[in-house]
């Protein structure tokens, strides 16, 4: 750790991991509810478990991004953070808002939560992924703006690198597009159009900038390759991500009541969305081949290499599979979507946050370069357990999805939704087994933080 104020990243990373555990526990509950519908009912109904699972994912990734920003900005700008105190205050505000919201989901019925948080004053609740009470949403905006103020002021007084400018652009975009969660028109078509401005333009737009900049940062640090080379790649990757991703929003506009030309625009532009991810793979492996040193933190390297590969598979390949309008006509909203969602989120965003945590955490804990060999081996085990089980989750859900599409939509005598769910239960069982292995992998991951041993020496 070169700058004192980088230390504020630590609580963010710890909170991220804590909420990650919560997310996966609820994922395991949810997976079981697919095959045992009344499991934990009425304490935790399916819709609540799902809401907690998805919301926790978003919140912990945001914690991860913020931690990454607080860690990267001082080092890249070569100056202390504008206000470490503000960063810590915002941490507690965000954690409190997040935890209270989850407790709210679990403690009272959703309608009651809406009532006691004054949703009728400014109705924003009740939409998938944006279920948070309006007051929580306002809290998120305050935290995001506070963080942006803090890091923007830091960047203004320090060195301005391409990595940090891309990161800033991504974080500003993240905050700006979240504002559309406050727009809740009566017209359902308009509602959906702008809902995607948060959901799609986050994960297939500005979040990719954050992903790209974190990846570039970690690769510079670990490989020692010249900044100019890495930055050039970064520019090209984000240009591709934006060219394809922005109009690619159209692949959500196929069947929601928008004009037909969206089927063409959405298909054509989203068809090239895999390319930036493919370029990330080439980029990462090229940089490693050109490396000027062997960094002792092998675990961080594994995460950094795994990210583009899994992101390309999950976001790129599994996304492309059902992005063309004529295909999506059949697959829309089936388990194919769930398969894609799981691997894309894991590959692109979970892994990049774990990569920066893996790289930064040993340094934040005062170690020279990396954890002990023993701790790294355990962490690498968790990498393989989680990654391989996620591959299987994805494959099982894809199997479920293909069967579902066939029985429910293509078959000459299409079956009803629930009837089909019974037929594909075997896939859900296998997915649950893979999910439990994922949870075990996560426990192994957490354990790796508590393993001591001799530190790795820093290499020059």
């Amino acid at each position: 750790m070169q700058y004192q104020s980088q230390a504020v990243a630590k609580p963010y990373f710890i909170a991220a991991i804590g909420l990650f555990v919560g997310q996966i526990v609820f994922g395991a509950i949810l997976g079981l509810q697919y095959v045992m519908g009344d499991f934990l009912f009425p304490e935790i109904p399916f819709n609540v478990a799902r809401m907690v699972h998805t919301n926790l994912l978003i919140v912990w990734l945001l914690f991860g991004f913020m931690g990454a920003a607080y860690y990267m900005v001082p080092e890249e700008t070569e100056t202390e953070l504008y206000s470490p105190k503000l960063a810590l205050i915002l941490f507690w505000v965000f954690l409190a808002a997040g935890v209270l919201t989850i407790i709210g989901y679990l403690a009272v019925p959703y309608a009651t939560l809406a009532q006691i948080t004054g949703n009728d004053l400014l109705p924003t609740m009740g939409r998938e992924f944006l279920e948070q009470p309006t007051i929580t949403k306002i809290g998120i905006v305050i935290v995001a703006l506070g963080m942006l103020f803090n890091i923007s002021m830091t960047v203004l007084k320090g060195r301005k690198t391409a990595i940090i400018m891309v990161l800033l652009l991504g974080l500003w975009g993240l905050a700006i597009f979240f504002l559309f969660s406050f727009y809740n028109p009566e017209n359902l078509v308009l509602d959906k159009i702008f809902w995607w401005w948060v959901v799609h333009l986050w994960v297939e737009g500005v979040w990719e900038l954050i992903l790209g900049s974190i990846l570039a940062f970690v690769l510079i640090k670990m490989t020692g390759v010249d900044r100019e080379i890495i930055e050039k790649w970064l520019y090209v990757i984000i240009a591709m991500a934006l060219i394809s991703g922005i109009i690619g929003t159209g692949h959500h506009y196929f069947w929601i009541g928008t004009p037909e030309y969206w089927q063409w625009w959405g298909s054509i532009f989203s068809a090239i969305e895999p390319i930036p991810f493919f370029m990330m793979v080439i980029f990462a492996f090229n940089m490693v081949n050109k490396r000027k040193r062997d960094h002792p933190n092998k675990a961080a390297m594994l995460w950094a290499m795994g990210t583009p590969v899994m992101a390309f598979l999950g976001a790129g390949v599994w996304g492309f599979m059902h992005t063309l309008a004529p295909v999506n006509y059949y697959t829309h909203g089936t388990q194919i979507t769930a398969a894609h969602g799981h691997m894309a989120f894991y590959g692109a965003y979970v892994m990049i946050v774990l990569a920066i945590i893996s790289y930064a955490m040993p340094l934040l804990r005062g170690r020279a370069a990396g954890n002990s060999k023993k701790a790294q081996i355990v962490e690498m085990w968790s990498f393989w357990l989680m990654t391989v089980s996620m591959v299987f989750i994805t494959l099982f859900l894809t199997g479920a999805g293909i069967l579902q599409v066939w029985l429910q939509r293509i078959n000459e005598n299409p079956m009803g939704f629930m009837e089909v769910q019974d037929k594909i239960a075997i896939f859900y069982w296998m997915r649950e087994v893979a999910g439990v292995i994922f949870l075990i992998g996560l426990i192994v991951y957490v354990t790796s933080f508590f393993i001591g041993g001799d530190e790795e020496e820093a290499s020059s």
Binding site: K232, Y261, W265
Partner: protein, 192 residues
């Protein structure tokens, strides 16, 4: 012209990143062209009928304009290779003026189509015609911005025969804009 300035020229000319960009752009337009061909094969009559309504004359003039502007850009690169910064800037200015003419004619075309009440939703042919020409239109504007930036730097003597990657970068992009139009025009306006 002496050969002294022709060091072993690097290939591709210009900045490497612009080529990734150019290939990406060509890929997008390529997918558009393929989609057009596919959609047309599903409804040849509609495409042929709607196509007759387009203004082929203005399209042809615009083709000549873009090809000529590309030639001017070639002259600009040749000029800077002989260390003639001002001449380079002047050739670029000529190309930019022609690009402006392209924009003007295209706007005229868009306005007359619009006044006929034609939109993206009229039929599949017009969806493609409007989408592809509009995306290309945006690229012409982007190309103009790049050429203007290069011209201003050339004017201030920012390039030399030793170091003129920027001029080649701008020229490469501009040729791509031209190339796309050379395919787009016959495909959408003429071929039937």
């Amino acid at each position: 012209m002496t050969q002294s300035h022709t060091k072993i020229s690097q290939y591709p000319p210009g900045d490497f990143a612009i080529w990734i960009f150019i290939y990406a752009e060509l890929l997008v337009f390529g997918i558009f062209f393929l989609s057009y061909a596919f959609a047309r094969s599903q409804n040849v009559e509609l495409f042929n009928e709607s196509q007759l309504n387009l203004n082929r004359i203005s399209g042809a003039i615009n083709t000549l304009i873009l090809i000529t502007s590309s030639y001017f850009v070639v002259r600009a690169v040749a000029a800077i290779r002989e260390n003639k910064s001002l001449l380079c800037a002047r050739w670029l200015l000529a190309a930019i003026v022609l690009a402006g003419a392209f924009i003007g004619i295209k706007l005229f075309e868009f306005i007359s189509i619009y006044s006929e009440g034609i939109s993206l939703s009229t039929n599949t042919f017009y969806m493609f015609y409007l989408s592809m020409t509009f995306f290309h239109f945006m690229h012409v504007i982007m190309g103009m911005v790049i050429l203007i930036a290069v011209m201003l730097k050339a004017k201030q003597g920012g390039y030399s025969n030793e170091d003129h990657t920027g001029v080649e970068t701008g020229a490469s992009y501009w040729h791509m804009v031209d190339l796309v139009w050379i395919i787009l025009f016959p495909l959408v306006y003429v071929m039937r």
